[in-house]
């Protein structure tokens, strides 16, 4: 089997160029999907029979929560590749994921709290789902702090990668917390086997928002990855040729 395509991803100049080319291809569809999703969710979709217009926060809350977990999985997978194959670019990908993931996690927590006060009657309870999501935020913070705390780049890469892989344990806990334990958080409406418990005119904008958020993540990841590669390769000769 020819592994050239895979080894090419280990080459910083190649990845730097590729990320630059891909950025607009992710960014513009992201803008289109998010605008369409917002219009569909905030204007076209009917209000919910119990929550009225309050349910519309789902169009930001649910995609942020999905993305937070998806980004963590991406980060851990990249860290894993970096650990085992000693691929520096993979460590750069993992490092670029952390900040974006922390933001999405924070957005999911804050929007959830704003929804929880009027609907549940409280901003916060120490419920399994809510606590696991808070731990995800702390994992992102811990990962970033660990990286920042070690001066040697190679050691920072490896130590933070171990933390990222170990934290992967939290991902199934977040997903299945509402099934394994009694939780105040509702079961999933969309991400489950069988049909979604939501009519089409509410569901389609939600899926558009998920698509848009995912593309947005990809676009920001490309921009951050370029910056990360620049920082790591600041003394490399290919960079002088590429930039000057």
């Amino acid at each position: 089997m020819d592994w050239t395509w895979f080894h090419k991803f280990g080459s910083p100049p190649h990845v730097y160029r590729l990320a630059g080319v891909l950025t607009p291809w992710f960014a513009w569809p992201a803008v289109a999907a998010i605008l369409a999703g917002l219009y569909g969710g905030l204007v076209l979709a009917p209000p919910d029979y119990q929550q009225g217009d309050g349910f519309r926060i789902i169009y930001v809350h649910a995609p942020s929560a999905w993305l937070s977990v998806m980004i963590y999985a991406t980060m851990a997978a990249a860290a894993f590749v970096g650990l085992v194959w000693r691929m520096k670019v993979a460590h750069a990908v993992a490092a670029s994921c952390a900040g974006i993931g922390a933001w999405f996690t924070a957005v999911s927590l804050v929007t959830g709290m704003l929804w929880g006060k009027p609907m549940w009657g409280t901003y916060w309870v120490w419920d399994p789902r809510l606590t696991a999501q808070l731990i995800l935020l702390l994992l992102f913070f811990g990962y970033m702090a660990l990286r920042a705390g070690i001066d040697d780049l190679g050691r920072a890469d490896r130590a933070s990668a171990v933390l990222a892989v170990v934290g992967l344990v939290n991902v199934p806990i977040i997903r299945f917390s509402v099934d394994w334990w009694n939780s105040i958080h509702q079961a999933p409406s969309v991400m489950k086997l069988g049909r979604p418990t939501m009519p089409m005119d509410m569901l389609v904008p939600l899926l558009l928002m998920l698509l848009g958020f995912t593309l947005y993540f990809a676009a920001v990841l490309m921009v951050r990855l370029r910056a990360e590669v620049l920082r790591r390769e600041r003394n490399a000769s290919w960079l002088k040729e590429a930039v000057l």
Binding site: P47, Y49, W120, W180, I184, P188, T197
Partner: protein
């Protein structure tokens, strides 16, 4: 074994070890991770005795009684097998209604009445427009059935 292979085994080993440790920990903490107990668990004695805990379930249809001129409230929490009567005094959240999920925080009295000092509503995963909900309720004699999404699908199929 090549160095790469050794690293692969090492990292997978760490992940497997941490997963097993996590699973064992969550199993042994099961009772503390449980956010609430349903009436059947309370009857089986799984809820902590003599301590505050959370009781969760559905508000039984027709069981909500409000004392006029006060915030006192009495209702029954059910899991469709067993019932627990609840007393509460205070304001309830918007989503508190019959046949809806509820989580009450308080203590179980000797006579089997649960005295709550905090009521939280538990929302379910069903979303639908008000017109559909109205049509379903009319069909089911003014009460939302237990599985609203299934009813909504039947409503759409008609």
């Amino acid at each position: 074994m090549t160095p790469r292979r050794r690293r692969l085994v090492l990292v997978l080993g760490i992940l497997a070890g941490v997963s097993i440790a996590g699973a064992l920990m969550l199993r042994s903490f099961n009772e503390n991770v449980m956010f609430f107990f349903d009436p059947s668990q309370v009857a089986k004695g799984e809820a902590p005795v003599g301590k505050r805990f959370r009781l969760g379930g559905m508000v039984k249809p027709g069981s909500v009684q409000r004392a006029p001129g006060s915030l006192s409230l009495a209702f029954v929490v059910t899991d469709f097998k067993l019932d627990v009567p609840v007393r509460y005094e205070g304001v309830v959240p918007d989503l508190f209604r019959e046949n809806q999920g509820v989580v009450a925080h308080g203590t179980l009295r000797g006579d089997g009445v649960f005295v709550a000092d905090e009521i939280l509503a538990k929302h379910d995963e069903n979303y639908m427009p008000p017109e559909v909900a109205r049509a379903i309720k009319e069909k089911h004699g003014g009460v939302m059935p237990v599985d609203p999404s299934k009813a909504a699908k039947e409503q759409a199929a008609r």
